[in-house]
Symmetry: C2
């Protein structure tokens, strides 16, 4: 058992300008299959298009934005649940005036079938 | 890519009085490793002590309550992240006057080592 308020977790750089992560549950907390982290994207910032082997399972806590995949754009806001399949190219845009905060669950890299 | 607001998802019985689930991401949405669901526990309701092979990775969206594990009781509230290890006996209590709503990510049963 491990319990923490996400506000107590350190804010870490992700290498993408305007996007930070707070790792909530990871191997350090005993997890063996997948992680849970908070992603925070600053107002009017966007990630580049990217892809990875692990699927995303995301819940939007606060903010307004979009997810782009292929040539489609999907609006997201508080309460949106988002599934992004393994190796599906995607990007996140914060289109609002406040932070876009999301809970993101991702498989450990070693558990993802290549 | 699959996007939905959780409010659009059907509320399903879990077999525990006062506890319902909205399945947000599951095999039906293309997921192959783990699920994401919303758990909603009514005011002053509690789950029984129980355990299962899959770990829980939980984010508390709203409400006030407790998680019990062994002889320990941990308070939870909006913003709490909770990791419950595989086969760790636990129960949830809603100690507040409003709904306790949580995002819960769990491995598919077939993926859990027995």
């Amino acid at each position: 058992m491990y319990i923490k308020n996400y506000r107590e977790l350190p804010v870490e750089s992700t290498g993408v300008e305007g996007l930070t992560a707070r790792w909530a549950i990871n191997a350090s907390q005993g997890a063996t299959n997948f992680s849970m982290r908070l992603l925070e994207l600053e107002p009017l910032k966007a990630t580049p298009f990217h892809q990875h082997n692990s699927e995303h399972e995301i819940f939007v806590l606060v903010g307004k934005g979009e997810v782009e995949a292929g040539d489609k754009v999907y609006p997201i806001r508080e309460g949106s649940v988002i599934y992004i399949a393994p190796n599906e190219a995607h990007k996140f845009n914060n289109t609002g005036a406040s932070i876009l905060r999301m809970v993101d669950a991702v498989m450990f890299p070693a558990k993802v079938a290549k």
